[in-house]
Symmetry: C2
Subunit: 235 residues, 2 copies
């Protein structure tokens, strides 16, 4: 499977063909993992990274009192835990949200990439920082936005990211996560999440049902959600 292009490298026209090839060759193997499987457990020393090629993955942290905070939702094309390369371990866990297919990059292979190409290194570094920018936007959402806006904002973000990899258009996208997941991502209870989802539906802003997000009027949703793509660094 190493003949296949795992990374959306067309987004990075500055990469040379050699760099592109090296990147694809860094994949040790491809693996399928069933939904809910925990890929990485908090604190465990790691020696490889995961690129998601199919399905959804989330990163999360459990608190002492039994709550779960989802820190990130990943879509195909995302380097889920590239930050484990410089950090050596993660301070959170990683799990498959749905059945997934992943490409495994040994840390050693990434190290070799960084040795041959500062350019590629910067690309990878940048990728981990865009993840961090998304973390910060979620911080703004949870800290300063109302429940309904928070949910709408997340839908906008996921739509924008998924559109980028051809999995969404202005009318919506498949989102195979539960309302419980959505609640854990937005810092709300499942019950209140359900009510807010209903409210957004009633207001005809966005309809999340049957694992699918349907958008009636994207501009109106974006306006409601106070959404600005800037933090996704699509440039």
């Amino acid at each position: 499977m190493t003949t296949r292009s795992f990374l959306m490298t067309h987004r990075h026209p500055r990469l040379t063909d050699a760099e592109r090839t090296a990147l694809n060759n860094a994949v040790a193997h491809v693996r399928e993992v069933p939904a809910r499987h925990v890929l990485v457990r908090e604190g465990v020393p790691l020696s490889q990274c995961t690129l998601l090629t199919r399905g959804f993955i989330h990163r999360y942290k459990d608190t002492q009192d039994g709550r779960r905070q989802i820190l990130a939702l990943h879509i195909p094309g995302d380097f889920v835990d590239l930050h484990s390369y410089p950090l050596k371990r993660l301070e959170h866990s990683v799990a498959a949200t749905t059945d997934v297919e992943i490409a495994v990059f040994p840390h050693q292979a990434i190290r070799e990439l960084t040795l041959i190409s500062p350019n590629l290194t910067e690309l990878l570094w940048r990728s981990t920082l865009i993840d961090a920018a998304i973390n910060r936007e979620w911080l703004v959402s949870i800290g300063a936005r109302s429940a309904a806006v928070r949910i709408a904002h997340l839908f906008c973000e996921l739509r924008a990211r998924m559109e980028r990899v051809g999995m969404a258009d202005e009318h919506g996208f498949e989102l195979p996560i539960t309302q419980v997941d959505l609640a854990d991502a937005t810092g709300l209870t499942p019950v209140h999440t359900n009510r807010m989802v209903r409210q957004l539906r009633d207001q005809k802003l966005v309809d999340f049902r049957d694992r699918r997000v349907v958008i009636h009027d994207l501009d109106r949703l974006i306006d409601f959600a106070q959404f600005d793509t800037g933090y996704l660094f699509f440039d």
Copy 2:
């Protein structure tokens, strides 16, 4: 001033003397900036990074409805916006919380460092990722912890980080920020923040007053705050 060691490189014994020197030589100049001065505005193209050498800096984002979410608090020794190097711009703003002294690193100088030393590159990369880990812990705090615990947790974090640079001990530390800042960092209103600060004081867990955090029993505070240093990657 380039003879002075700006980075806490003793924390990274793997660096060679040459690397250490190169890092220190990458400083273009040192500058003083008064409290409240905005160092970086959201979205503006950047060509340099800032290392904080004295005082406090915060990173924040203003929302449409006039709220401010503080995304990070920085203490001396922190590379405040190193992520602007791979990202070229920031999606948030950066401001001096107090009067500060900063060391300026041109992106070009950082680029040269990355060309001569993959080792150093990884150190810098790692530094930006630890910042991201802190972002995520704040996400857990705001999303899943009560107001009082949230505040206590932030005090624990700052204490641990400041102890590392000799600015705190088990009994407390100077924290020259206002309750309004604390509120904006924790996603609470200043009024409720004030009540929680008082409650923490009454419970003799931690006393934040007169720009100083006084801790009676650190173990008890850590326990109350559900604080675990793991995410700070002190290893």
